[in-house]
Protein backbone atom coordinates (compact mmCIF):
# COMPACT_ATOMS: atom_id res chain seq x y z
CA UNK A 1 0.00 0.00 0.00
CA UNK A 2 2.80 2.37 -0.98
CA UNK A 3 0.47 4.65 -2.88
CA UNK A 4 -1.93 5.33 0.02
CA UNK A 5 1.01 6.00 2.36
CA UNK A 6 2.18 8.62 -0.09
CA UNK A 7 -1.28 10.17 -0.20
CA UNK A 8 -1.53 10.22 3.59
CA UNK A 9 1.80 12.03 3.83
CA UNK A 10 0.67 14.52 1.24
CA UNK A 11 -2.58 15.07 3.14
CA UNK A 12 -0.73 15.73 6.40
CA UNK A 13 1.53 18.19 4.66
CA UNK A 14 -1.48 19.95 3.16
CA UNK A 15 -3.19 20.13 6.56
CA UNK A 16 -0.11 21.74 8.05
CA UNK A 17 0.11 24.13 5.12
CA UNK A 18 -3.58 24.92 5.57
CA UNK A 19 -3.12 25.71 9.26
CA UNK A 20 -0.08 27.87 8.49
CA UNK A 21 -2.02 29.85 5.88
CA UNK A 22 -4.92 30.35 8.33
CA UNK A 23 -2.52 31.71 10.91
CA UNK A 24 -0.95 33.99 8.39
CA UNK A 25 -4.32 35.28 7.25
CA UNK A 26 -5.34 35.93 10.85
CA UNK A 27 -2.12 37.79 11.49
CA UNK A 28 -2.60 39.88 8.39
CA UNK A 29 -6.17 40.71 9.43
CA UNK A 30 -4.94 41.74 12.86
CA UNK A 31 -2.31 43.93 11.26
CA UNK A 32 -5.02 45.40 9.07
CA UNK A 33 -7.17 46.14 12.12
CA UNK A 34 -4.23 47.82 13.79
CA UNK A 35 -3.69 49.97 10.75
CA UNK A 36 -7.39 50.82 10.25
CA UNK A 37 -10.06 51.15 12.92
CA UNK A 38 -12.75 49.64 10.69
CA UNK A 39 -12.74 46.44 8.66
CA UNK A 40 -12.44 46.69 4.89
CA UNK A 41 -16.05 45.56 4.59
CA UNK A 42 -17.12 48.40 6.91
CA UNK A 43 -15.21 50.92 4.79
CA UNK A 44 -17.05 49.69 1.72
CA UNK A 45 -20.40 49.65 3.50
CA UNK A 46 -20.20 53.15 5.04
CA UNK A 47 -18.03 54.84 2.41
CA UNK A 48 -20.84 56.89 0.89
CA UNK A 49 -21.73 58.48 4.21
CA UNK A 50 -18.12 58.79 5.44
CA UNK A 51 -17.23 60.96 2.46
CA UNK A 52 -19.93 63.44 3.45
CA UNK A 53 -17.79 65.91 5.38
CA UNK A 54 -20.43 66.65 8.04
CA UNK A 55 -20.11 63.10 9.38
CA UNK A 56 -16.45 63.57 10.31
CA UNK A 57 -15.39 60.60 8.19
CA UNK A 58 -13.81 57.64 9.99
CA UNK A 59 -14.00 59.22 13.45
CA UNK A 60 -17.72 59.88 12.90
CA UNK A 61 -18.23 56.29 11.80
CA UNK A 62 -16.59 55.09 15.00
CA UNK A 63 -18.91 57.31 17.04
CA UNK A 64 -21.81 55.63 15.25
CA UNK A 65 -20.38 52.17 15.90
CA UNK A 66 -20.00 52.94 19.60
CA UNK A 67 -23.51 54.39 19.91
CA UNK A 68 -26.38 52.58 21.62
CA UNK A 69 -29.82 53.82 20.60
CA UNK A 70 -33.18 52.68 21.97
CA UNK A 71 -36.28 53.02 19.81
CA UNK A 72 -39.54 52.77 21.75
CA UNK A 73 -42.24 51.74 19.28
CA UNK A 74 -41.77 49.86 16.01
CA UNK A 75 -44.79 51.42 14.31
CA UNK A 76 -45.25 54.23 11.81
CA UNK A 77 -42.35 56.26 13.21
CA UNK A 78 -40.12 53.39 14.31
CA UNK A 79 -40.27 51.64 10.93
CA UNK A 80 -38.37 54.29 8.97
CA UNK A 81 -36.05 55.19 11.87
CA UNK A 82 -34.81 51.67 12.48
CA UNK A 83 -33.41 50.72 9.05
CA UNK A 84 -31.73 54.11 8.64
CA UNK A 85 -29.99 53.74 12.00
CA UNK A 86 -29.01 50.17 11.18
CA UNK A 87 -27.87 51.14 7.70
CA UNK A 88 -25.75 53.96 9.10
CA UNK A 89 -23.97 51.52 11.42
CA UNK A 90 -25.28 52.48 14.87
CA UNK A 91 -23.56 49.82 17.02
CA UNK A 92 -26.45 48.66 19.19
CA UNK A 93 -30.10 49.28 18.44
CA UNK A 94 -32.76 48.36 20.99
CA UNK A 95 -36.45 48.03 20.12
CA UNK A 96 -39.24 48.16 22.69
CA UNK A 97 -42.63 46.98 21.44
CA UNK A 98 -44.99 44.33 22.75
CA UNK A 99 -47.51 44.66 19.94
CA UNK A 100 -47.91 42.22 17.04
CA UNK A 101 -48.09 43.11 13.36
CA UNK A 102 -51.62 43.64 12.04
CA UNK A 103 -52.62 43.93 8.38
CA UNK A 104 -53.93 47.46 9.09
CA UNK A 105 -50.37 48.52 10.05
CA UNK A 106 -48.76 47.62 6.75
CA UNK A 107 -49.62 50.75 4.73
CA UNK A 108 -47.24 52.74 6.94
CA UNK A 109 -45.17 50.31 9.01
CA UNK A 110 -43.03 49.29 6.10
CA UNK A 111 -40.49 47.15 8.00
CA UNK A 112 -43.22 44.59 8.48
CA UNK A 113 -44.92 42.67 5.68
CA UNK A 114 -47.81 40.36 4.92
CA UNK A 115 -45.83 37.29 5.99
CA UNK A 116 -45.04 38.73 9.44
CA UNK A 117 -48.66 39.53 10.38
CA UNK A 118 -49.19 38.16 13.89
CA UNK A 119 -45.47 38.26 14.73
CA UNK A 120 -44.12 40.56 17.46
CA UNK A 121 -43.22 43.87 15.82
CA UNK A 122 -39.81 43.98 17.49
CA UNK A 123 -39.04 40.51 16.12
CA UNK A 124 -40.34 41.33 12.64
CA UNK A 125 -38.16 44.47 12.67
CA UNK A 126 -35.11 42.63 14.00
CA UNK A 127 -35.18 40.16 11.11
CA UNK A 128 -35.07 42.97 8.56
CA UNK A 129 -32.31 44.85 10.38
CA UNK A 130 -30.15 41.73 10.78
CA UNK A 131 -30.29 41.18 7.03
CA UNK A 132 -29.73 44.85 6.31
CA UNK A 133 -26.57 45.15 8.39
CA UNK A 134 -24.92 42.22 10.22
CA UNK A 135 -22.45 44.63 11.88
CA UNK A 136 -25.26 46.03 14.02
CA UNK A 137 -26.42 44.35 17.21
CA UNK A 138 -30.21 44.45 17.58
CA UNK A 139 -31.72 43.89 21.02
CA UNK A 140 -35.45 43.33 21.35
CA UNK A 141 -37.57 44.17 24.39
CA UNK A 142 -41.00 42.64 23.77
CA UNK A 143 -42.60 44.34 26.77
CA UNK A 144 -44.97 47.21 27.37
CA UNK A 145 -42.93 50.11 28.77
CA UNK A 146 -43.94 50.74 32.39
CA UNK A 147 -42.90 52.50 35.59
CA UNK A 148 -41.36 49.21 36.69
CA UNK A 149 -39.23 48.31 33.66
CA UNK A 150 -38.34 51.62 31.97
CA UNK A 151 -35.21 52.43 34.01
CA UNK A 152 -33.78 48.96 33.62
CA UNK A 153 -34.26 49.06 29.84
CA UNK A 154 -33.11 52.66 29.28
CA UNK A 155 -29.93 52.48 31.39
CA UNK A 156 -27.89 50.60 28.78
CA UNK A 157 -28.55 53.08 25.95
CA UNK A 158 -27.19 56.56 25.13
CA UNK A 159 -30.11 58.06 23.25
CA UNK A 160 -33.83 57.27 23.54
CA UNK A 161 -36.24 57.66 20.62
CA UNK A 162 -39.89 58.18 21.44
CA UNK A 163 -41.84 56.65 18.56
CA UNK A 164 -44.87 55.76 20.68
CA UNK A 165 -48.49 56.75 20.32
CA UNK A 166 -49.99 57.92 23.62
CA UNK A 167 -49.46 60.90 25.93
CA UNK A 168 -48.93 58.44 28.79
CA UNK A 169 -45.81 56.83 27.31
CA UNK A 170 -44.53 60.23 26.17
CA UNK A 171 -44.48 61.50 29.76
CA UNK A 172 -43.00 58.23 31.02
CA UNK A 173 -40.18 58.20 28.44
CA UNK A 174 -39.27 61.83 29.06
CA UNK A 175 -39.37 61.45 32.86
CA UNK A 176 -37.18 58.34 32.88
CA UNK A 177 -34.71 59.83 30.39
CA UNK A 178 -34.37 63.02 32.46
CA UNK A 179 -33.70 60.96 35.60
CA UNK A 180 -31.04 58.94 33.77
CA UNK A 181 -29.54 61.98 32.03
CA UNK A 182 -30.33 60.81 28.50
CA UNK A 183 -31.37 62.82 25.47
CA UNK A 184 -34.70 61.98 23.80
CA UNK A 185 -35.68 62.40 20.16
CA UNK A 186 -39.46 62.61 20.28
CA UNK A 187 -41.91 62.59 17.40
CA UNK A 188 -45.60 62.07 16.73
CA UNK A 189 -48.00 62.16 13.85
CA UNK A 190 -51.62 61.91 12.86
CA UNK A 191 -53.47 62.25 9.59
CA UNK A 192 -51.19 64.22 7.29
CA UNK A 193 -49.21 66.01 10.01
CA UNK A 194 -46.28 65.33 12.29
CA UNK A 195 -44.22 66.96 15.04
CA UNK A 196 -40.62 66.48 16.12
CA UNK A 197 -38.45 67.76 18.97
CA UNK A 198 -35.37 66.92 21.04
CA UNK A 199 -35.94 66.65 24.78
CA UNK A 200 -33.51 66.94 27.69
CA UNK A 201 -30.68 67.65 25.24
CA UNK A 202 -27.46 66.99 27.17
CA UNK A 203 -29.42 67.64 30.41
CA UNK A 204 -29.60 71.31 29.33
CA UNK A 205 -32.64 71.35 27.09
CA UNK A 206 -36.31 71.31 28.09
CA UNK A 207 -38.15 68.05 28.75
CA UNK A 208 -41.67 66.97 27.75
CA UNK A 209 -43.08 68.38 31.00
CA UNK A 210 -41.44 71.77 30.33
CA UNK A 211 -43.46 71.94 27.10
CA UNK A 212 -46.58 70.28 28.47
CA UNK A 213 -46.81 70.68 32.26
CA UNK A 214 -50.49 69.67 32.11
CA UNK A 215 -51.61 66.63 30.12
CA UNK A 216 -54.11 67.13 27.29
CA UNK A 217 -57.76 66.48 28.10
CA UNK A 218 -58.42 62.84 27.15
CA UNK A 219 -61.23 63.84 24.76
CA UNK A 220 -58.72 65.80 22.68
CA UNK A 221 -56.35 62.86 22.15
CA UNK A 222 -56.80 61.05 18.86
CA UNK A 223 -54.97 57.86 17.88
CA UNK A 224 -54.00 56.74 14.39
CA UNK A 225 -56.63 54.01 14.70
CA UNK A 226 -59.32 56.64 15.17
CA UNK A 227 -58.00 59.56 13.19
CA UNK A 228 -56.19 57.73 10.42
CA UNK A 229 -52.70 58.42 9.15
CA UNK A 230 -50.96 58.72 5.78
CA UNK A 231 -47.98 56.35 5.56
CA UNK A 232 -45.39 58.60 3.90
CA UNK A 233 -46.36 61.59 6.11
CA UNK A 234 -45.63 59.75 9.36
CA UNK A 235 -42.72 58.06 7.56
CA UNK A 236 -41.14 61.40 6.76
CA UNK A 237 -41.33 62.42 10.41
CA UNK A 238 -39.73 59.09 11.38
CA UNK A 239 -36.99 59.74 8.84
CA UNK A 240 -36.40 63.15 10.40
CA UNK A 241 -35.99 61.40 13.76
CA UNK A 242 -33.19 59.35 12.20
CA UNK A 243 -31.49 62.52 10.94
CA UNK A 244 -31.64 64.10 14.40
CA UNK A 245 -30.30 60.93 16.00
CA UNK A 246 -27.29 60.85 13.66
CA UNK A 247 -26.65 64.55 14.38
CA UNK A 248 -26.72 63.86 18.13
CA UNK A 249 -24.29 60.96 17.81
CA UNK A 250 -21.94 62.87 15.51
CA UNK A 251 -21.95 65.87 17.85
CA UNK A 252 -23.50 68.32 15.41
CA UNK A 253 -25.28 70.29 18.16
CA UNK A 254 -21.98 70.70 20.02
CA UNK A 255 -20.79 72.62 16.98
CA UNK A 256 -23.87 74.68 16.18
CA UNK A 257 -25.28 75.03 19.70
CA UNK A 258 -28.65 73.65 20.73
CA UNK A 259 -31.76 75.84 20.63
CA UNK A 260 -34.99 74.18 21.80
CA UNK A 261 -37.32 73.65 18.86
CA UNK A 262 -40.45 71.95 17.64
CA UNK A 263 -40.66 71.06 13.98
CA UNK A 264 -44.06 70.57 12.42
CA UNK A 265 -44.62 68.86 9.11
CA UNK A 266 -47.82 68.97 7.05
CA UNK A 267 -48.19 66.83 3.97
CA UNK A 268 -51.45 68.32 2.66
CA UNK A 269 -52.42 70.54 0.94
CA UNK A 270 -48.88 71.92 0.46
CA UNK A 271 -45.93 70.08 1.99
CA UNK A 272 -44.61 72.42 4.66
CA UNK A 273 -41.94 71.98 7.31
CA UNK A 274 -41.80 74.66 9.98
CA UNK A 275 -39.49 75.15 12.92
CA UNK A 276 -40.83 76.84 16.01
CA UNK A 277 -38.43 78.28 18.59
CA UNK A 278 -39.43 76.83 21.95
CA UNK A 279 -39.03 77.63 25.64
CA UNK A 280 -35.95 76.29 27.43
CA UNK A 281 -35.78 74.15 30.54
CA UNK A 282 -38.34 75.43 33.09
CA UNK A 283 -37.02 76.02 36.60
CA UNK A 284 -40.41 75.01 38.05
CA UNK A 285 -40.63 71.79 35.97
CA UNK A 286 -41.84 68.84 38.05
CA UNK A 287 -39.21 66.61 36.45
CA UNK A 288 -36.15 68.60 35.36
CA UNK A 289 -36.70 71.75 37.46
CA UNK A 290 -35.01 72.85 40.66
CA UNK A 291 -37.20 70.88 43.05
CA UNK A 292 -38.29 67.84 41.10
CA UNK A 293 -41.06 65.58 42.36
CA UNK A 294 -40.85 63.20 39.42
CA UNK A 295 -37.83 61.18 40.53
CA UNK A 296 -36.62 57.65 39.93
CA UNK A 297 -38.01 56.68 43.30
CA UNK A 298 -41.43 58.23 42.76
CA UNK A 299 -41.69 56.67 39.31
CA UNK A 300 -40.51 53.17 40.24
CA UNK A 301 -42.63 53.06 43.39
CA UNK A 302 -45.69 53.88 41.27
CA UNK A 303 -46.29 57.14 43.14
CA UNK A 304 -46.29 58.83 39.74
CA UNK A 305 -49.46 57.33 38.30
CA UNK A 306 -49.44 58.01 34.57
CA UNK A 307 -52.89 56.51 34.01
CA UNK A 308 -54.42 58.85 36.55
CA UNK A 309 -52.33 61.81 35.34
CA UNK A 310 -53.36 61.44 31.70
CA UNK A 311 -56.86 60.18 32.46
CA UNK A 312 -59.06 58.46 29.93
CA UNK A 313 -62.31 59.10 28.20
CA UNK A 314 -65.35 57.89 30.06
CA UNK A 315 -67.51 55.85 27.73
CA UNK A 316 -69.19 53.98 30.53
CA UNK A 317 -72.38 56.01 30.40
CA UNK A 318 -75.01 53.37 29.59
CA UNK A 319 -76.71 50.83 31.84
CA UNK A 320 -76.65 47.18 30.83
CA UNK A 321 -80.38 47.44 29.92
CA UNK A 322 -79.50 50.16 27.46
CA UNK A 323 -77.05 47.91 25.61
CA UNK A 324 -77.64 44.89 23.37
CA UNK A 325 -75.29 42.35 21.85
CA UNK A 326 -74.80 42.07 18.10
CA UNK A 327 -76.50 38.65 18.17
CA UNK A 328 -79.55 40.06 19.91
CA UNK A 329 -79.60 42.96 17.46
CA UNK A 330 -79.55 40.49 14.56
CA UNK A 331 -82.23 38.26 16.11
CA UNK A 332 -84.66 40.81 17.52
CA UNK A 333 -84.29 43.72 15.12
CA UNK A 334 -82.44 42.89 11.93
CA UNK A 335 -84.17 39.66 10.91
CA UNK A 336 -87.57 40.19 12.57
CA UNK A 337 -90.02 40.85 9.77
CA UNK A 338 -92.40 42.96 11.89
CA UNK A 339 -89.66 45.07 13.37
CA UNK A 340 -90.00 48.80 13.02
CA UNK A 341 -86.94 50.52 14.32
CA UNK A 342 -84.46 53.19 13.32
CA UNK A 343 -80.82 52.19 12.92
CA UNK A 344 -78.51 55.11 13.62
CA UNK A 345 -74.83 54.87 12.68
CA UNK A 346 -72.89 57.66 14.44
CA UNK A 347 -69.49 57.25 12.77
CA UNK A 348 -67.90 60.14 10.84
CA UNK A 349 -69.26 60.48 7.29
CA UNK A 350 -66.05 59.28 5.58
CA UNK A 351 -66.03 56.14 7.75
CA UNK A 352 -69.69 55.48 6.95
CA UNK A 353 -68.95 55.76 3.23
CA UNK A 354 -66.44 52.91 3.42
CA UNK A 355 -69.04 50.42 4.63
CA UNK A 356 -72.34 50.40 6.52
CA UNK A 357 -75.44 48.32 7.13
CA UNK A 358 -78.38 48.79 4.80
CA UNK A 359 -81.31 50.91 6.02
CA UNK A 360 -79.07 52.82 8.44
CA UNK A 361 -78.98 56.58 8.97
CA UNK A 362 -75.72 58.43 9.46
CA UNK A 363 -75.68 61.24 12.03
CA UNK A 364 -72.41 61.71 13.93
CA UNK A 365 -72.10 62.12 17.70
CA UNK A 366 -70.83 65.64 17.16
CA UNK A 367 -73.86 66.49 15.02
CA UNK A 368 -76.18 65.04 17.66
CA UNK A 369 -74.47 67.09 20.36
CA UNK A 370 -74.74 70.26 18.28
CA UNK A 371 -78.52 69.77 17.90
CA UNK A 372 -78.87 70.58 21.61
CA UNK A 373 -81.62 68.00 22.02
CA UNK A 374 -83.97 69.59 19.45
CA UNK A 375 -85.94 66.79 17.83
CA UNK A 376 -86.81 68.92 14.76
CA UNK A 377 -83.12 69.18 13.94
CA UNK A 378 -82.78 65.41 14.11
CA UNK A 379 -85.89 65.04 11.95
CA UNK A 380 -84.13 67.03 9.23
CA UNK A 381 -81.85 63.97 8.90
CA UNK A 382 -84.35 61.25 9.83
CA UNK A 383 -87.87 62.47 8.98
CA UNK A 384 -89.82 59.64 10.65
CA UNK A 385 -88.06 59.79 14.03
CA UNK A 386 -90.16 60.72 17.07
CA UNK A 387 -90.09 60.33 20.83
CA UNK A 388 -91.93 57.00 20.39
CA UNK A 389 -89.36 55.57 17.98
CA UNK A 390 -87.38 52.50 18.78
CA UNK A 391 -83.78 53.50 18.02
CA UNK A 392 -80.69 51.31 17.80
CA UNK A 393 -77.29 53.05 17.75
CA UNK A 394 -74.00 51.76 16.39
CA UNK A 395 -70.49 53.05 15.72
CA UNK A 396 -67.18 51.38 14.85
CA UNK A 397 -66.26 49.74 18.17
CA UNK A 398 -69.16 50.66 20.46
CA UNK A 399 -67.76 53.68 22.29
CA UNK A 400 -69.23 56.72 20.55
CA UNK A 401 -72.55 54.87 20.22
CA UNK A 402 -72.82 54.84 24.01
CA UNK A 403 -72.32 58.59 24.17
CA UNK A 404 -74.96 58.96 21.42
CA UNK A 405 -77.39 56.65 23.25
CA UNK A 406 -77.06 58.82 26.34
CA UNK A 407 -77.72 61.98 24.29
CA UNK A 408 -80.78 60.48 22.59
CA UNK A 409 -82.33 59.37 25.88
CA UNK A 410 -81.42 62.36 28.04
CA UNK A 411 -81.30 65.30 25.61
CA UNK A 412 -83.79 64.29 22.93
CA UNK A 413 -86.12 62.50 25.34
CA UNK A 414 -86.42 59.29 23.31
CA UNK A 415 -86.84 56.55 25.94
CA UNK A 416 -86.38 53.46 23.76
CA UNK A 417 -82.76 53.65 22.59
CA UNK A 418 -80.33 50.72 22.55
CA UNK A 419 -76.58 50.76 22.04
CA UNK A 420 -75.02 47.91 20.06
CA UNK A 421 -72.16 46.56 22.16
CA UNK A 422 -68.92 46.31 20.18
CA UNK A 423 -70.33 48.21 17.20
CA UNK A 424 -70.17 47.46 13.52
CA UNK A 425 -66.86 45.60 13.76
CA UNK A 426 -68.26 43.17 16.33
CA UNK A 427 -71.31 42.70 14.09
CA UNK A 428 -68.99 41.90 11.20
CA UNK A 429 -66.99 39.43 13.35
CA UNK A 430 -70.00 37.64 14.80
CA UNK A 431 -72.77 37.98 12.25
CA UNK A 432 -71.75 39.07 8.77
CA UNK A 433 -68.07 38.72 7.82
CA UNK A 434 -68.84 39.74 4.22
CA UNK A 435 -68.91 43.45 5.19
CA UNK A 436 -65.54 45.25 4.83
CA UNK A 437 -63.67 46.19 8.01
CA UNK A 438 -61.10 48.98 7.83
Amino acid sequence: MEASEELRKELTALKLENARLHRELQNREREQEKRYPLSLEEFRRYGRQMIVEDTGGVSGQIKLRNAKVLVVGAGGLGCPVLPYLAGAGVGVIGIVDNDVVDTSNLHRQVLHNSTTVGMLKCESARRVLNKLNPFVEVRTHPVRLSNANAFEIFEFYDIILDATDTPLTRYLISDVAVNLGKTVVSASGLGTEGQLCILNYNNEGPCYRCFYPKPPTPTSVTSCQEGGVIGPCIGLVGTMMAVETLKLILGEYEKIGFQPFLKTYSGFPEQVLRTFRMRGKQSNCACCGQTPTVTRESIESGLIDYDAFCGSRNYDVCTSEERITVEKFEREYRTRSDSNYILLDVRPRHHYKISHLSDSHNVTVKELRDMDGELEKLQAHIPNISKDSEVVVMCRYGNDSRLATRLLIDRFGIPSVKDISGGLFKYIDKVDPSIPKY
Partner: protein, 98 residues
Protein backbone atom coordinates in the same frame (compact mmCIF):
# COMPACT_ATOMS: atom_id res chain seq x y z
CA UNK B 1 -56.60 98.74 15.79
CA UNK B 2 -54.46 95.76 14.99
CA UNK B 3 -54.38 93.37 12.05
CA UNK B 4 -52.82 89.93 12.45
CA UNK B 5 -52.80 86.49 10.86
CA UNK B 6 -54.17 83.66 13.00
CA UNK B 7 -53.46 80.02 12.12
CA UNK B 8 -55.13 76.89 13.44
CA UNK B 9 -52.87 73.87 12.89
CA UNK B 10 -52.64 70.22 13.88
CA UNK B 11 -56.33 69.66 13.13
CA UNK B 12 -57.53 72.64 15.22
CA UNK B 13 -59.07 74.17 12.11
CA UNK B 14 -62.16 72.02 12.75
CA UNK B 15 -63.34 74.66 15.25
CA UNK B 16 -63.10 77.54 12.74
CA UNK B 17 -64.97 76.17 9.71
CA UNK B 18 -62.00 74.06 8.64
CA UNK B 19 -60.12 77.16 7.52
CA UNK B 20 -56.50 77.07 8.66
CA UNK B 21 -55.48 80.68 8.08
CA UNK B 22 -57.53 83.73 9.07
CA UNK B 23 -56.86 87.46 8.73
CA UNK B 24 -58.10 89.08 11.92
CA UNK B 25 -58.60 92.76 12.59
CA UNK B 26 -59.57 93.99 16.04
CA UNK B 27 -60.63 97.63 16.25
CA UNK B 28 -59.33 98.26 19.75
CA UNK B 29 -56.21 99.75 21.28
CA UNK B 30 -53.63 97.66 23.17
CA UNK B 31 -54.85 94.23 22.09
CA UNK B 32 -52.95 91.54 23.97
CA UNK B 33 -52.97 87.75 23.55
CA UNK B 34 -55.56 87.36 26.30
CA UNK B 35 -57.93 89.61 24.32
CA UNK B 36 -57.21 87.79 21.07
CA UNK B 37 -58.02 84.48 22.71
CA UNK B 38 -61.36 85.75 24.01
CA UNK B 39 -62.03 87.30 20.57
CA UNK B 40 -61.42 83.90 18.93
CA UNK B 41 -63.73 82.18 21.43
CA UNK B 42 -66.51 84.80 21.01
CA UNK B 43 -66.25 85.76 17.34
CA UNK B 44 -64.47 83.06 15.40
CA UNK B 45 -65.62 79.75 16.84
CA UNK B 46 -69.06 79.52 15.29
CA UNK B 47 -70.22 76.44 17.17
CA UNK B 48 -70.24 77.25 20.88
CA UNK B 49 -69.84 73.56 21.74
CA UNK B 50 -66.37 73.80 20.19
CA UNK B 51 -65.14 76.52 22.56
CA UNK B 52 -64.10 73.86 25.06
CA UNK B 53 -61.81 72.36 22.41
CA UNK B 54 -59.89 75.66 22.50
CA UNK B 55 -60.29 76.96 26.03
CA UNK B 56 -60.07 75.49 29.51
CA UNK B 57 -60.50 77.64 32.61
CA UNK B 58 -60.29 80.77 30.49
CA UNK B 59 -56.94 80.00 28.91
CA UNK B 60 -55.70 77.96 25.96
CA UNK B 61 -56.37 74.28 26.66
CA UNK B 62 -53.47 72.02 27.69
CA UNK B 63 -52.24 70.22 24.60
CA UNK B 64 -52.44 73.31 22.38
CA UNK B 65 -49.19 75.16 21.67
CA UNK B 66 -49.42 78.90 21.12
CA UNK B 67 -46.83 80.59 18.93
CA UNK B 68 -46.15 84.22 18.17
CA UNK B 69 -44.24 84.65 14.91
CA UNK B 70 -43.05 81.02 15.08
CA UNK B 71 -41.87 81.43 18.68
CA UNK B 72 -43.33 79.79 21.78
CA UNK B 73 -45.49 82.48 23.42
CA UNK B 74 -43.84 81.70 26.78
CA UNK B 75 -40.75 83.44 25.37
CA UNK B 76 -42.79 86.46 24.26
CA UNK B 77 -44.71 87.25 27.43
CA UNK B 78 -47.64 84.84 27.09
CA UNK B 79 -51.12 86.33 27.56
CA UNK B 80 -49.67 89.77 28.15
CA UNK B 81 -47.97 90.05 24.75
CA UNK B 82 -49.24 93.13 22.89
CA UNK B 83 -50.13 92.32 19.29
CA UNK B 84 -48.47 94.23 16.49
CA UNK B 85 -49.63 94.58 12.90
CA UNK B 86 -48.61 91.64 10.68
CA UNK B 87 -47.93 89.33 13.64
CA UNK B 88 -48.59 85.67 12.87
CA UNK B 89 -50.25 83.87 15.77
CA UNK B 90 -50.39 80.07 15.49
CA UNK B 91 -52.31 77.58 17.58
CA UNK B 92 -51.44 73.94 17.05
CA UNK B 93 -52.69 70.83 18.80
CA UNK B 94 -50.09 68.49 20.07
CA UNK B 95 -50.15 65.21 18.21
CA UNK B 96 -49.73 61.90 20.00
CA UNK B 97 -50.03 59.24 17.31
CA UNK B 98 -47.09 57.24 16.06
Amino acid sequence: MVSVTVEFLGGLDVIVNKQRIHQVQIDEEGVDMKRLISYIADQMITNKNDVEVFLEDGSVRPGILTLINDTDWELEGGEGYLLEDKDVISFTSTLHGG
